[in-house]
Amino acid sequence: MTPTFESARRVALSRELHARAEKLALATVALHYERVPALAVRYGLAGRERCLEDARYHLSYLQQAVAADSRVLFTSYVQWGRSMLESRGVPVFDLTMNLRCLIEVLERETATQAAVSTVHEALLALAGPIPETPTMLEDGNPHAPLAREYLRLLLSWERRGASQLILEAVAAGAPIRDMYMHVFQPTQYELGRLWQLNEISIAQEHYCTAATQMIMSQLYPQLFAEPKFGRTMIVSCVSGELHELGARMVADLFELDGWDTVYFGANTPTSALLTAINQRQPVLLAISATLTVHLDRVRELINAVRADSHAASTTIMVGGNCFNRDPGLHLRLGADAHSVDASAAVALANMLVEAP
């Protein structure tokens, strides 16, 4: 898809927001403190510094949402922020006030309506009920008891027990794919939910994720022993992305399906990726991004691939948390396809490749 005039205009606007972010953030905080003088008393100078950090963070999400023409990305970010604050005992009023000030500053300082209306919509959503983040370990999951036990073990720091649980299930005939889709993924989502609700610590979440990374690799001897039929694909995270599990799961399930996969983490420079594409000639390039703030890098990567005459025809699939919030987002970034999870991605890719 060639970038349309409209999308080029949005990217330009987003660049402008980026360039002026510091000034806009400072102005927003100044306005906020002017409106609510008690803030200074409550939080002191350091509080102001933190308020400034928050404003910068809002702007970085806003900038991405504007560039990608996706209000829902900013709305979901703000709702997430609200839930984070509430579960940590910080009044939500600070957030709404800050966003109001941001609107005023944007109206005063920028020429277009796009940014302002995006924040407006998010504010409206904040006034409504906050959507529940449902647990994924309940109904509809054929392996729910196993997944719950797995999570329980991990949260009790028992990675060996957790590993044994999975290896035994696989030895007893459970497909590896099911372990990925019905145990690892919902458990990771549940960890995120518990962290968001301030029920587990960062350390716990790190531990559980690292343990799952290890347990996945214990399944590798079986996973890689599957027969191959010669289709090649490359999977990569965008640079800076620390969330690698989803991308790896995608690579692994393609491998299980008989694809020959090349997996890059988040540390591969674009040039190295282009070289790999030229050498391996994959039919598919899968790009993973979790955080909305990394969308720019997805766009840059896609543009770089499209600009390389040898790589341009590669089918590009994107996925990850931020894409799952907005069904049309991938097209607006110039990708060919998107799937909500690894299993669906394999099915879609097979269809795309077989289509004439």
């Binding site: 200074a40 008393v41 409550r42 939080y43 002191g44 100078l45 350091a46 509080g47 510094e49 960062i202 350390a203 790190h206 690292a210 990374q213 690799s217 590798y220 001897p221 996973l223 890689f224 022993a225 620390l242 690698e244 790896r248 690579a251 491998e255 996969t261 997996y263 890059f264 983490g265 988040a266 540390n267």
Partner: protein, 394 residues
């Protein structure tokens, strides 16, 4: 170096009783006797009161970010303190400063050791927390990179295993396909030998060469097939209780002709009682044949090869000892590896496939036995194989 943090003593009401140390970013010249909050920006008052309250009630307060007023400028500060015996010791740093160190050299600190120690512990904890956050991200990156490398290795490993299996298949395939034509060549050579037409002496010599070379090739093909079957785990043992002494005696008879031709004698010394092992007769015969033919190959004419069978309650041990040239110590570790031949030459120029001992070792190990070698150059070589013994069949 000037200290980068200030130290104060306050009473429970929050009045500064002592300025232990001044810091360049603060003006504490008139602080003594004043309330602590008087040093701060009015906006920070409420928060400072909350901190003093924590100091009073819990005995400690860590990392409170406040705003001080120096002349007319505002300065961000971070305060950490502990209370002991109705007095609070506070350390004041700039907020972005990582890890203030409590300089404990002064007399004042000595006199207030308990305060100082508690404060030091608290500071260490705070620094730890701040460093932890930064380190955690580095650790995550590292962990992710290791996960990438690990996946790479696992995938390469699987590829290698696949290639290895492919190699075994090709080996078995080639060996199998060579066997048939080799058999035909051997058969035809025999037929020519028997041909009623008189052959010249020259032709007979050539024919002998052809048949000895073909025999060697056939032997090699058999060994290749054998080793590839062993390597790919396709060896199926047909195990029954058998008396090893008897099996060995048969193997000796089988090898005696070749030995006699070279002027070598073979003697056997059998265990007092029968030596039963649970084994595959044809495979164990192959083990004995390989060991014996090796011993004959490397023995000097006129010497003897000794075979001993010993047994106890648990094991049966077979030793094949020659008085040949011996194997140099550096090569001794490799004699059981496939395709590894030693620098030792066969005494009558016999050829070796380099697979005999590798096959022996694998068969012995498939019987839960073990085999090892001892050798001394110029003295001789001894191979010993040990098998678990079994009860005599009833």
């Amino acid at each position: 170096m000037t200290p980068v943090n200030a130290i104060l003593m306050c009473d429970l009401a929050g009045i500064v009783r002592e300025v232990v140390r001044e810091a360049p970013f603060l003006d504490l010249s008139r602080a003594r006797g004043q309330p602590l909050v008087a040093l701060l920006d009015p906006e920070s008052t409420l928060k400072a009161c909350a901190m003093l309250d924590a100091l009073r009630t819990t005995g400690w307060a860590a990392d409170w970010d406040l705003t001080a007023k120096v002349s007319d400028a505002l300065v961000a500060i971070r305060v950490t303190g502990v209370t002991r015996d109705g007095r609070s010791m506070l350390i004041v740093t700039a907020p972005d400063h990582d890890g203030p160190d409590l300089d404990l050299e002064s007399e004042f600190m000595d006199a207030n050791r308990e305060h100082a120690n508690a404060l030091r512990a608290l500071l260490r904890e705070g620094v730890g927390r701040r460093r932890d956050a930064a380190s955690l991200e580095h650790l995550t990156r590292l962990n992710n990179e290791m996960a990438v490398v690990q996946r790479d290795l696992a995938k390469k490993n699987a590829e290698l295993a696949r290639i290895n299996a492919q190699k075994d298949t090709i080996l078995a395939f080639v060996a199998h396909d060579l066997r048939t034509p080799l058999g035909a060549v051997l058969g035809f050579t025999k037929l020519i030998h028997r041909d009623p037409n008189q052959l010249s002496a020259r032709q007979v010599r050539f024919l002998d060469s052809i048949s000895s070379m073909t025999k060697f090739m056939a032997e090699m093909v058999t060994d290749l097939l054998e080793i590839s079957a062993l390597e790919s785990g396709k060896l199926v043992l047909d195990r029954k209780p058998l008396e090893l002494g008897e099996l060995i005696a048969r193997a000796i008879v089988f090898n005696e002709m070749v030995a006699r031709d070279k002027g070598i004698s073979i003697a056997i010394e059998r265990a007092r009682g029968p030596a039963w092992v649970e084994g595959d007769a044809s495979k164990l015969e192959q083990v004995m044949n390989n060991l014996l033919s090796n011993a004959i190959k490397y023995s000097h004419p006129g010497t003897g090869v000794m075979v001993m069978v010993e047994s106890d309650a648990k094991h049966v041990c077979v030793e094949v000892r020659d008085r040949g040239q011996g194997i140099p110590p550096t090569e001794l570790d490799h004699v059981f590896e496939a395709f590894r031949t030693t620098s030792v030459k066969a005494t009558a120029g016999e050829k070796s496939t380099g697979l005999g001992l590798a096959i022996v070792k694998r068969i012995v190990e498939a019987h839960q036995g073990r085999i090892w070698v001892e050798s001394e150059v110029g003295v001789g070589t001894s191979f010993r194989a040990q098998f678990p013994s079994c009860a005599a069949p009833t």
